[in-house]
Symmetry: C2
Subunit: 99 residues, 2 copies
């Protein structure tokens, strides 16, 4: 599982949905990753879950599984000087070893 | 932990955000729940994560922790006869036992 550091992370934002799905699939199929971490903040969390589910159930069916899901919060001060909190998610997808 | 069945579930939808936060807090503080499951589908998944984070970091700080997070998919046929998939999340919050 070694080397699965930030290089194998996909950060979900407002690009077209399929960009992220393809991004994850490519990591596993042509970049040789055994683990990919899908990350998102705020309103993009729902999207990150959708991406993971589409990869798991359609594109890489029975080839990957979710091994870890981390929720968190990031706090920062916005332009108006107000303290803001945003939720985060990190979903780890692991390649299922072929028997 | 017994009895933490569907009665302790909070299903997140489009009601005001604080309704759900209060709902979770009340389960723990006045309903005697030791475990509460926050559930959501589709675009409400981000909201469910926000609710859990606000409960954990503000209202019940150091009193509850996330013990399990399940992602899933529900498939159904919509009014137009089209097969639709929607992502789901279930986040389990557990009361931290006082020492």
């Amino acid at each position: 599982m070694g080397g699965a550091a930030d290089d194998n992370s996909i950060f979900v934002g407002e690009k077209p949905f399929m960009n992220y799905v393809t991004g994850v699939v490519i990591q596993f199929t042509t970049q040789g990753a055994t683990e990919v971490i899908v990350k998102a903040r705020g309103k993009f969390i729902s999207r990150a879950v959708d991406i993971v589910e589409v990869v798991k159930h359609r594109f890489l069916k029975d080839q990957v599984k979710t091994t870890d899901i981390k929720l968190g919060s990031e706090e920062f001060t916005n332009k108006e000087g107000k303290d803001v909190r945003v939720s985060t998610i990190e979903i780890t997808l692991l390649q299922i070893k072929k028997k």
